[in-house]
Structure formats: structure tokens, C-alpha cells
């Protein structure tokens, strides 16, 4: 029987990798954010005192929250339905709905352009129906659609998994006591799914905060933080501000994940 100290050696390569290529660079990034250039104050100060950077952070957070809530509602309804009902074609439907989970952000951005870009489906539809092209891909609405696209499959998968461990007798008891459909949904199903919904929501939020690829495809003029970091880094070569913005973005994301973890114990998550 391998004893615990000996088993710990097997962890050494992974630990060395994380230490050298993630923890140390991250610490370096945090220090860099504190440096100043041209007597403008440290990177952190520049971020916190600039309306533009703070605005992009607030906008990114707000967008991520709205996307998360919308995805939870849509994915929740479809997830419960798919977990509870048996009908022909169900597994094919589940497979189709979960494929987009592995699509990279750039591809999702392109799909949004095909839907709502200049030559997109909605532009053609609008031309037919209202005589004007409906184009919303290159704005925050397009970003919203893109983030929704890769959040919904995640919610559906989590909700379906959580439904399987739900105690159905509680619902039957509620029904037999005369509760209507909505009462059962509000008082039995939603509380039962709450831990899974919360932890999945946190991951959706985190993904939306850092989704650089989608924003990059839809246009680098969008004022969301990942794009702001990229612009500051490549266009102005201002490493201090780029580092500070990354650290703040990472800290907000991590804080939300940690807070959810505290609130919800032992919730199974799909990464």
C-alpha cells in the first residue's frame, strides 16, 4: 500500500508546472501592475482612477451577469424538460445542444456575424419584412448573443445532471397535496436545483468575463475589459496598465467563484 508521503511525490511534476508557468508569472503580473511609467502613478491607480477602464469593467460585469441570468432561465427550462421527458429524438437533441460547448470563442463570434452581421440572416430577414437590414452583431447585443450561445449548453448539461439526483417523490407529494404546476416548480424544483444553478451560473459568469475570442471577432472597438487589455498591451505597449487590468479582472472573477463556493457546498460542476 503506497503511503501518503510517497503518493505525494506523484504530484511533483504537476506542482512544478503550475509553480513555474502559472503562479510565478501571476505574481510577476501583480508586481508589474504596481509599476508606474511617465509619472502617471501605478498601473492599479491608473485603472481605478480612469472612467474609461472602470467603465469597461462595469460594462463587462453587467454583461456577464445579464448573460448568466438569461442562460440560467433558458437552459433551466430546456434542461428540466430534457431530463424529465422521454420522446423519440431526445438523445439526438441533447447531443446537438451540447456540441457548441467546445466551440472556441472566435468561432462563436463568427457564427454571430452570420446571424446578425452585414450579410447575415437577420439582415436578409429585416430587408424582407421591414425594408431595412437588421444588424446588431458588432455591438453589445451581438456580444450578448455570442456569450449566450456558449453559456446555454453548459447550463443544460448541468441542469440535466442535477435533475437526475432530484427526489421525485417530493414533487409527487406536492402534487397530491394540491399544488399546481407553478407551485411545484417554484417551491420544489427550483430550490432542489439551486446549488447546481448557482455553481453553473458562477462558471458562466467567469467564462463571460474572460471571453476574449468572441469580442475580438466582433470588433476591437467594443469596450469590454479583455479587449481593453489587448488594446492597451498591443497598441500602447503600456504593460503596467495591461497587467493591472488583468489582475483586477482575474480578481473579480475569482471572487465570484469563491463566493459561490462558500454559499454552495459540494455542488457538482461541469467545467
Amino acid at each position: 500500500m503506497a503511503s501518503t508521503p510517497r503518493a505525494a511525490w506523484a504530484l511533483a511534476p504537476a506542482f512544478a508546472l503550475l509553480l513555474a508557468f502559472w503562479l510565478l508569472p501571476l505574481a510577476h503580473l501583480m508586481l508589474l501592475g504596481g509599476q508606474s511609467r511617465d509619472s502617471q502613478g501605478s498601473g492599479y491607480w491608473q485603472v481605478l482612477s480612469s472612467a474609461q477602464y472602470l467603465g469597461s469593467l462595469v460594462q463587462t460585469c453587467a454583461l456577464a451577469v445579464v448573460v448568466t441570468l438569461t442562460a440560467l432561465v433558458i437552459g433551466g427550462i430546456s434542461g428540466v424538460f430534457l431530463a424529465r421527458q422521454q420522446f423519440s429524438g431526445r438523445s439526438a437533441l441533447v447531443a446537438l445542444l451540447t456540441f457548441p460547448l467546445a466551440f472556441p470563442g472566435v468561432v462563436v463570434g463568427f457564427l454571430v456575424i452570420l446571424l446578425a452581421g452585414r450579410q447575415g440572416l437577420f439582415a436578409a430577414l429585416g430587408l424582407q419584412l421591414a425594408g431595412e437590414r437588421w444588424i446588431f452583431a458588432y455591438s453589445l447585443v451581438g456580444l450578448f448573443v455570442g456569450y449566450l450561445y456558449f453559456s446555454i449548453p453548459r447550463v443544460i448539461l448541468t441542469v440535466m445532471a442535477a435533475c437526475e439526483s432530484l427526489d421525485r417523490s417530493l414533487e409527487e407529494a406536492a402534487h397530491s397535496l394540491g399544488a399546481g404546476h407553478w407551485r411545484v416548480v417554484c417551491d420544489v424544483i427550483i430550490p432542489g436545483l439551486a446549488p447546481a444553478l448557482a455553481s453553473c451560473g458562477a462558471i458562466c459568469f467567469a467564462t463571460s468575463m474572460g471571453a476574449f475570442g468572441t469580442a475580438f471577432t466582433l470588433g476591437t472597438r467594443l469596450n469590454v475589459t479583455p479587449v481593453a487589455i489587448y488594446n492597451v498591451f498591443t497598441n500602447y505597449a503600456n504593460f503596467a496598465v495591461a497587467a493591472a487590468l488583468s489582475v483586477v479582472l482575474g480578481a473579480v472573477t475569482w471572487a465570484v467563484l469563491l463566493l459561490t463556493r462558500r454559499l454552495v457546498k459540494n455542488a457538482g460542476t461541469v467545467l
Binding site: 500500500m1 503506497a2 503518493a7 505525494a8 511525490w9 506523484a10 504530484l11 511534476p13 504537476a14 508546472l17 503550475l18 508557468f21 502559472w22 503562479l23 508569472p25 510577476h28 503580473l29 427550462i77 430546456s78 424538460f81 421527458q85 437533441l93 447531443a95 446537438l96 445542444l97 456540441f99 467546445a102 466551440f103 472556441p104 470563442g105 472566435v106 468561432v107 463570434g109 463568427f110 457564427l111 454571430v112 456575424i113 452570420l114 450579410q119 447575415g120 440572416l121 450561445y149 446555454i152 404546476h181 474572460g210 471571453a211 476574449f212 475570442g213 475580438f216 487589455i229 489587448y230 498591451f233 504593460f239 495591461a242 488583468s246 479582472l249 482575474g250 472573477t253 475569482w254 467545467l271
Partner: protein
């Protein structure tokens, strides 16, 4: 059995969600195969765009495949022993390590990439080789192998088998390779498929880490979205989807088998 109206409503809603997921993909397939997307299908179908994409971008496909396979090998070498250690230790330290391992995935990829770039960017030879991207991919995909392998290790009668091997005189290294690894094959396979899929599509880190000489498939995709015409971009996306969808189907089949094993 007659279905209630609630069932019909929910089905319609789910089909609508499915349409939202599927219609853009179908549009992309169509655009990549029509002669002129602006005119529509009436302009005829063609493989010309695919051929053009292949001529212009095939190096990105090969580099991405090379990266994905190397990433899978690295993650296995690092991740399988780590999963074993984490399951065996199961104490406060191992749980903290698990959290640490997931952080590069949870954190915005751009931040991790920037940190890597600002720290190791001055080592020119390393910076300009594909190994620089490989490091990023390994960090990002590690938990996706460790988690399924841990799940398989936790539920099997592994300690009993190991004890039997030990009593027959097998040392720790031999036990690991001849008892532990063969018993976790399904978990390792699921993890490897996930790692390859994610590595093929990784963009947030790669965009910061790549150089003009080390363009991966998603980097090439971003290039074509920004500069090429819609048909070329669509045909390129089609090639990417052709690579990734078989992997996803295999992944679903394996995870279905794994979860059936769990219930048994």
C-alpha cells in the same frame, strides 16, 4: 399517451433553443460550399473555397494537430500521476492543490497569457517556438484530464487490487503502471479526447502567445474572419468543425459509457 399542452410548449421552446444553436452552424456550412453567398444557393455549390483555404492555411491545421497531440501526451505524463496522488492523499493539501489546478481555467485566459508573456517573453528561442504555446495549452487543459481520471480512480476497487499486487511483491512504480493505469483507461481516454478537443480550439491564450511563425488553427480562423471574404472564412470554419465534431461524438459515447459504469 396524449401529451399535455405544457409538454408541447416546452418541446417548442427547446426546439427553438436548438435552432439558435444549429442555424448559424448550418449557415456557415452553406456559406463555405456556395459559389457566392451573397447571391445564395442559386449560384451553385463548389469545393473551390475549401481548396483555397487548404492552400492558404494548411500549415495552421498541421501545427494545431501537432500541438494537440503533444499537449495530450504532456497532460497525461503530468496529470495521471497527479490524479493518483490526489485520490490517495485526500487531505487539506490535496484539496487546495485541486483548487489551484482549476484556477488557470477559471481565470480569464488573456490574463494567464499576459503573465506568461511578460515573464518568459525575453527568452527569444523559447518565445518564438511552438513550445511556448504548448505550455499555455497544458496549463489550460490539465484539470480536464485529472478530473475524469480521479473520478474513475475513486470508484474502482483500486486499493484492493494494489494491495494484492503489493503482497505479490510489486514495487510502487510497477504497481502504478501495471495496476493503476490499466484500470483507469476509460477515464484517461475521456480526458485525452477532451484535452485534444480543447487544445484544437484554444484561442484566448494562443492569440497572445503565438508568433507569425506559429499560427494555430483558431489564430488562422481569427485572421480569416478579419480579412478574408465570408465564403473563405466559412470554408475554414467547416474544416475546423470537421476536425472537432468526430472528437465530440466520441467523447459523448465514452462519457455515456462511464456514467453507466457509475450506476452499476
Amino acid at each position: 399517451m396524449k401529451r399535455s399542452s405544457l409538454f408541447v410548449l416546452q418541446l417548442l421552446f427547446t426546439l427553438l433553443v436548438c435552432a439558435f444553436m444549429l442555424v448559424p452552424v448550418l449557415l456557415s456550412l452553406m456559406a463555405g460550399l456556395t459559389r457566392n453567398f451573397f447571391v445564395g444557393l442559386s449560384s451553385g455549390l463548389t469545393f473551390d473555397w475549401l481548396v483555397q483555404v487548404w492552400q492558404a492555411y494548411s500549415p495552421t491545421v498541421w501545427l494545431s494537430l501537432q500541438l494537440a497531440l503533444a499537449c495530450a501526451v504532456c497532460v497525461c505524463v503530468v496529470g495521471v500521476p497527479a490524479a493518483y496522488a490526489l485520490v490517495r492523499m485526500n487531505n487539506r493539501f490535496s484539496r487546495a492543490f485541486e483548487e489551484l489546478m482549476v484556477l488557470p481555467v477559471a481565470m480569464p485566459g488573456l490574463a494567464s497569457a499576459l503573465a506568461l508573456l511578460l515573464t518568459y517573453g525575453q527568452f527569444g528561442a523559447f518565445r518564438s517556438s511552438w513550445l511556448f504555446i504548448l505550455v499555455g495549452h497544458v496549463l489550460f487543459t490539465l484539470p480536464f484530464l485529472v478530473r475524469p481520471v480521479m473520478a474513475v480512480m475513486q470508484r474502482q476497487q483500486l486499493p484492493v487490487l494494489e494491495e494484492a499486487a503489493a503482497s505479490l511483491g510489486a514495487g510502487p512504480i510497477k504497481r502504478f503502471f501495471s495496476v493503476v493505469v490499466p484500470n483507469c483507461r476509460a477515464g484517461i481516454l475521456a480526458g485525452v479526447l477532451m484535452v485534444v478537443t480543447l487544445s484544437l480550439g484554444e484561442f484566448n491564450l494562443t492569440w497572445m502567445l503565438h508568433t507569425p511563425m506559429t499560427k494555430t488553427l483558431p489564430v488562422g480562423l481569427a485572421d480569416s474572419y478579419a480579412s478574408a471574404r465570408l465564403e473563405i472564412a466559412s470554408a475554414y470554419t467547416l474544416i475546423f468543425l470537421l476536425m472537432i465534431v468526430p472528437l465530440l461524438i466520441a467523447l459523448q459515447a465514452i462519457s455515456a459509457r462511464l456514467s453507466r459504469g457509475e450506476r452499476r
